[in-house]
Symmetry: C2
Subunit: 341 residues, 2 copies
């Protein structure tokens, strides 16, 4: 039972070669280019390899091929319910392409994001940056080096998946208008967030067209607590309805309103975004759908295509996948209260 020096768990290609009585090259080819070998040899080698429990050393492979078989997905906050479904579907899709997935959580910080990327760059073939907080320049720099797919960030020339909230957002404004609301509040998310910028813009433009006034309250980091704390500003604004950056903020707002005895939707209407928790609240939250899972799958596909196309024809293909949204009306929106004198 005495074994080789050390206790390296690794069966190497050399071990397999010896056992199968072929050269190391043949073992390698049995896995990477079986067409080059005789049917019989391939089978024999594979059988022996399986018996010995051979698993190729990824590092060695990466060293000679330059390919790692890894990708990275970077998110600002995995604890934000928007991201888990995205990451999940991404990972499952990557799995079918035999890619392993690094996860980076930047904690909403551009700086940490940059560090993470630098750390991972050395061992991934491509990145999926979800809602990156990074500067455009840095993203472009990275994209010049290796395949990058963005989610919810709109940079021309870089493949991206955009969840276009404008559709659902517009519906929301129109609904509120129809319900008689005249003054809205937008509870804005992180400034670095493309989604926030898009929502902000759509909202102000649509409101202007609909002749509604909209005040913007900065919430900053989109958390439950931040949403709850923003309620005082909401109340001060005199608005009768609010649209929040996302559902997490909405939850906080719901809680804050309840504390103040403001009942939803009788006294106040609220619309969320992303539809991540929407059905789970009470009252059930009216929200703009998002389809994060779809985005994850799309991003993975985009990246896989990019990786595969990296050799054949050097066409960068800056594809842009857009995912449409719509308003899901539930129980937090109702007619505006009679105006108080």
């Amino acid at each position: 039972m005495a074994s080789r020096a050390g206790r390296a768990p690794g069966v190497t290609i050399g071990d397999v070669a010896a056992a199968a009585q072929v050269s190391r090259a043949t073992v390698s080819r049995a896995f990477t280019r079986p067409q080059l070998l005789s049917q019989e040899t391939v089978e024999r080698v594979r059988t022996v390899a399986a018996r010995l429990g051979y698993v190729g050393n990824q590092a060695a492979r990466a060293l000679s091929t330059g390919r790692f078989g890894n990708i990275a997905v970077v998110v600002p906050d995995i604890a934000n319910p928007f991201f888990p479904p995205l990451v999940r579907s991404l990972q499952l899709a990557a799995e079918t392409a035999d890619l392993a997935v690094f996860l980076g959580d930047s904690d909403e910080s551009a700086e940490r994001e940059a560090k993470l990327i630098a750390r991972l760059a050395a061992q991934v073939e491509g990145f999926v940056l979800a809602s990156p907080r990074l500067s455009e320049a840095l993203i472009r720099e990275l994209a010049a080096t290796r395949p990058v797919v963005l989610v919810n960030r709109d940079l021309d020339g870089i493949p991206r998946v955009l969840i276009d909230s404008s559709g659902g957002m517009t519906e929301a404004v129109l609904l509120l208008k129809k319900l008689g609301h005249q003054r809205l509040v937008y509870l804005a998310g992180p400034r670095d967030s493309w989604s926030d910028q898009q929502r902000r813009e759509t909202l102000t433009q649509t409101s202007a067209k609909a002749r509604l006034t909209v005040e913007i309250v900065e919430v900053g980091r989109p958390t439950y607590a931040a949403g709850r704390d923003s309620v005082s500003a909401v109340v001060r604004s005199g608005a009768t309805a609010a649209i929040a950056f996302d559902d997490v903020v909405s939850q906080g707002v719901l809680a804050g309103l309840e504390v103040r005895g403001i009942s939803v939707p009788t006294d106040f209407s609220l619309v969320g975004c992303d539809d991540t928790l929407a059905a789970l609240t009470t009252p059930a939250l009216t929200s703009v759908s998002a389809g994060a899972a779809t985005a994850g799958t799309a991003a993975a596909k985009l990246l896989v295509n990019l990786l595969e196309a990296t050799e054949p024809h050097t066409e960068p293909s800056a594809e842009c996948v857009t995912i449409a949204t719509h308003l899901v009306t539930r129980a937090t929106t109702a007619a505006a209260p009679k105006s108080t004198p």
Copy 2:
């Protein structure tokens, strides 16, 4: 501007060596063992390296040292709100130890879990398996190969972090008893889950002691839909209170109860587990706290220690960190309704 063949983005150790007029070995040592070199050389090499933008090739390094600087965390379902905080804190802790984190989502399948692990094993130094669905034998086999830390799985001899629900669970039973409930239902989660087994057991034992009857309703995969669909069984049981495997199931149950016009907590009391969404529901859910984030940090620390100790003294140190829980009483628990004849 003509450059080297290909367009390898990589500045290699050779490039730095040439530019600094030293050997490759010296460059290597300037980073890994600066004590061996003269102060001056170290500085010169580092300066040159920085100027060239040298970043060590992780694969090559891994190949010669056998260290990858990567760990993997495997979860059954990242979309389950219990896991994101755990993964998040784990990743942040790993970052400080300069470890990159692979994420694997096994989709609640032991088989997929095994595949993921096999795929990742080749490039990680250690694993954190959160709520693994894998068989004990396979886990032990893996643990024999490399450092493994378990979360919510209790295997003797393997370092693990356990969120001990029994404390909170017992409190829950006692509270319900005090409120006059006599028949309980436990909405059980995945059978492969240690957490479920622990909760199941604690619950039956404590209930027996408290002279309460408890019926078990299998929910299977802990999802909102599954929780909602289990309500018919709950109603059929004739119980006046339920304890659910986790908060997600509880949410579903709340929804299902509402549909049937059963009001909580007047007609029925409900207790969740993990306290992941607890404050966010209406009525706010009474739940057993969990501290997933704490568990994530603890697991990371355990693994880091293990990795560092792997050489010095070969003491396996099968440490077991237990995180206590308690009941957080909110608004879904109240006195049992008058018994109907």
